[in-house]
Amino acid sequence: MTRTMQAITRFGLLWLILLVPTLALAQLEPTLEPAETMVALVEEAAEAAEPTLDSGDTAWMLTATALVLFMTLPGLSLFYAGLVRAKNVLSVLMQCFAMAGLMSIIWAVYGYSLAFTDGGTFNQWIGSLDKLFLAGVTVDSLEGTIPETVFMTFQMTFAIITPALIVGAFAERMKFSAMLWFMALWLTLVYIPVAHWVWGGGWMEEMGALDFAGGTVVHINAGVAALVAALVLGKRKGYPTTAMPPHNLTLTVIGAAMLWVGWFGFNAGSELAANGTAGMAMAVTQLATATAVLTWMFAEWIDHGKPSVLGIATGAVAGLVSITPAAGSVGPMGAIAIGFLGALFAFLASTKIKKALGYDDSLDVWGVHGVAGIVGALLTGVFVAASLGGVGLEEGMTMGQQVWVQFVSVVATLVYGGVMSFILLKVVDLIVGLRVTEEQETQGLDLALHDERGYSL
């Protein structure tokens, strides 16, 4: 009995020790306030005069950059690797890995410059060559409050994952060399201009299109390229009569989980600072994804009678995609609505409409990224409204006008990306040929193109 009492007393004392300084600090705080305000004001004035490096922002953006690369390597790679047949597992891993190499170099040589510098007279359409070979991007150069090196690398990871997304559309049948040609051309002539239109001061940004983290630039862009690639390359041999089930859904679920985690870098990182907007971007990303996961799960449960693991993982990706353009503009309840509708439309597109139309977008890049991207981009114009919990429309903009602007940017991306992808695929087909031979396809790309097998069991 006494021992218990002692324990309680000791415990109480411990609390007291912890509590007293906290209370004391709380008492002190009001007296500190005026001084703090002064400091803040001085800081603000200095900031207006000349941007200075913020170590908090920089620390977050270094982390966010690593998270976005983690989405491709290994997140997306594993997500895709599990979905193909065992004989092609290495080929998709290889394609994603090669993207990380190729796109980084293109980005450094001319990509960053063309996307993110002022193009003068042509600025509506494309940037300049001022920063060719990263000229002028030094240890001291800043972009806002973070080093320009960090900004450039952060954007580089976006230029890696976007082409890597397209890999899913032509999986199991495209020549590796043709894939490299197509992707290099696509990044140059599609991704870079569209990134400039939206983020580099181009016409979409001027028009007031809201695309916080890349709904149009990344997901609609990759989605439409994927759809066109699936149509131009044609179906896999035996599709859809031969069974082509995923060979290892465990890999796919691990990949989807990594995408979910990495996406916080993608969305919350797109604020380029560690602040309130980044915090809200993180919260809405989680909520939209959570909603999408449940939406897909229940949709499948109702439709088929059982919920599936592939379904719930795909739902997560659809939710993440749909909140991407909206992450900096909408509130938590808007995010839930966007996640619900994004997943619902992606579910219909990849499980019903694809089957009805008969095209072989092997891993549903269009159905998930394209469709959820469009839903997200359009709904950003709705849920940005302050009355719906968003940050509020630009002054002088009505909801109808904002949705129209979003619609124009979606259609422009679809048309430009679709037409250009078609042309580029045809060009590459002429130069090296797009598809492997039937024999190679039957053998599997791992052995046919890489002289390796994924599993030696």
Partner: protein, 112 residues
């Protein structure tokens, strides 16, 4: 001597093995096999793509027994592997001409 081959549901393997030991079967050979009978296959669904899987995984047991054990062995396998549902499997009985224990060279019933 008879060779008794039984195709059973995989999850019944432990029950069948125990039952066989109890009646005095000296050893069994087990193989993972696939096939179909009246149970047919099942369907799998991946993002709306439905596949009919014709062949179901089963376990094939082979056990060589002396003539006096045949009835008992058939009986215990039938009992242990029975769930009462379609797909419980089948038992096949063959005449076994001879058996040889490799280590000693013994043959006939002593080798079982």
């Amino acid at each position: 001597m008879k060779l008794i081959t039984a195709v059973i549901k995989p999850f019944k393997l432990d029950d069948v093995r125990e039952a066989l030991s109890e009646v005095g079967a000296q050893g069994i050979t087990v193989t993972e096999v696939k096939g179909f009978g009246r149970q047919k296959g099942h369907t799998e669904l991946y993002r709306g793509a439905e596949y009919v899987v014709d062949f179901l995984p089963k376990i094939k047991i082979e056990v060589g027994v002396t003539d006096d054990l045949v009835e008992r062995v058939i009986e215990v396998i039938s009992r242990a592997a029975n769930t009462g549902k379609v797909g419980d499997g089948k038992i096949f009985i063959y005449d076994l001409e001879n058996a040889i224990r490799i280590r000693t060279g013994e043959s006939g019933p002593e080798a079982l």
